[in-house]
Amino acid sequence: MNRLPVTESDLHAYVDSTLPQARGAEVETYLASHSEEAERVAAYRQQNAALHALFDPVLDEAVPERLRTRRARWMKPPLRYAAVVAWVALGGVVGWNLQAYTSAQRTEASTWARRAAIAHAIYSPEVRHPVEVGADQEAHLVNWLSKRLGAQLRAPHLGGIGYTLVGGRLLPGERGPVAQFMYQDAKGQRLTLYVRANADHARETYFQFAQENKVGVFYWFDRRLGYALSGEVDKDELLRAATAVHSQLNP
């Protein structure tokens, strides 16, 4: 048989088990008569095994939150700009939809949900400045926002469903100031509750659902206030959270 000489590359490929079977057999034959090389190959194979023994356990470790929550950190600027552009464009949209009161009311309600979704998309990925006032100053936060909205607010506690209050901020709304409370669960998943004063005291609604891209929104009005709870979670979970918010605000 006419064999090619065994090269250093062959030996490494043999160590890494990447040689075609026939060539592997030739290398084995070669090693049988070259004990020094055979020892070296054995040592290198042991290195491979030792590397796996040392580092394979990393594969089974829980992936840290900061590597899993793309949303929380990595919403990229273009998306944010898109959200801002959408926000600005809303003024125009609202203006075009005032033909009839009912349609205006409906549009206004869905616009409310939409604004809530946009505000969620803008602020929930924030790492450093998700809120203006943190939950450590909850009393101050609630007083401040209540004063600005001209209605007594409360920040619901959602610990029962695994969400804690991060804090809140004041935002410009189409009809005056709007409050946004932010919540976060242990995985960093965020929900935002968007609240404004309800000018139309006669209107109370049940939960309605709207979807803006990935953001789901349950929104409703009671006599005093309008609410929209937004999150990038599945609808059932969002409904559970909305129910928890509602039952706390309407004991």
Binding site: T7, V15, L51, F55, V58, L67, R73, W74
Partner: protein
Amino acid sequence: MNEHERLIEQQIPRLRRYARALTGERAAADDLVQDTLERAWSKLHLWRHGSDMRAWLFTIMHNVFINQVRGRTPEQAVSLEDGALDLPDRATQTDELEIRDLDAALRRLPDEQREVLLLVALEQSSYEETAKALGIPIGTVMSRLSRARARLHRIMTGSPGAATLKVIK
């Protein structure tokens, strides 16, 4: 979760394993993974649909890693091809010690040798994939691999200077 997110997320454990072996430190490794993922997300439009996501991510990680290495102060960046750097400590006693020694020994390989060795031995990338990920010719992969293994062996066994250069064909 969309398809891209799933494809990327699937690779996170392997990226972490490689980064841990490369940096030898948990926090630094996860920083490296995080920087890699951030860059991947921002460059996702450059990923060719249907191509190997794992290979693409490891290429990005390599680039992030060498940028970090370049950013280090010169004293930290001991990165030469084989030099007179190895001063073997001692032969090893127990398995546990051996494993800890392996981690320490890896730190004593030049970065470019450690990258090749880990991609091949731990990540089980082919030599072609390794060459592509690191942006070097396959011959360079083979010579770095050969040096890395020989050097690691020397450090681990405490045998001075033996088996240094082999001719690569």
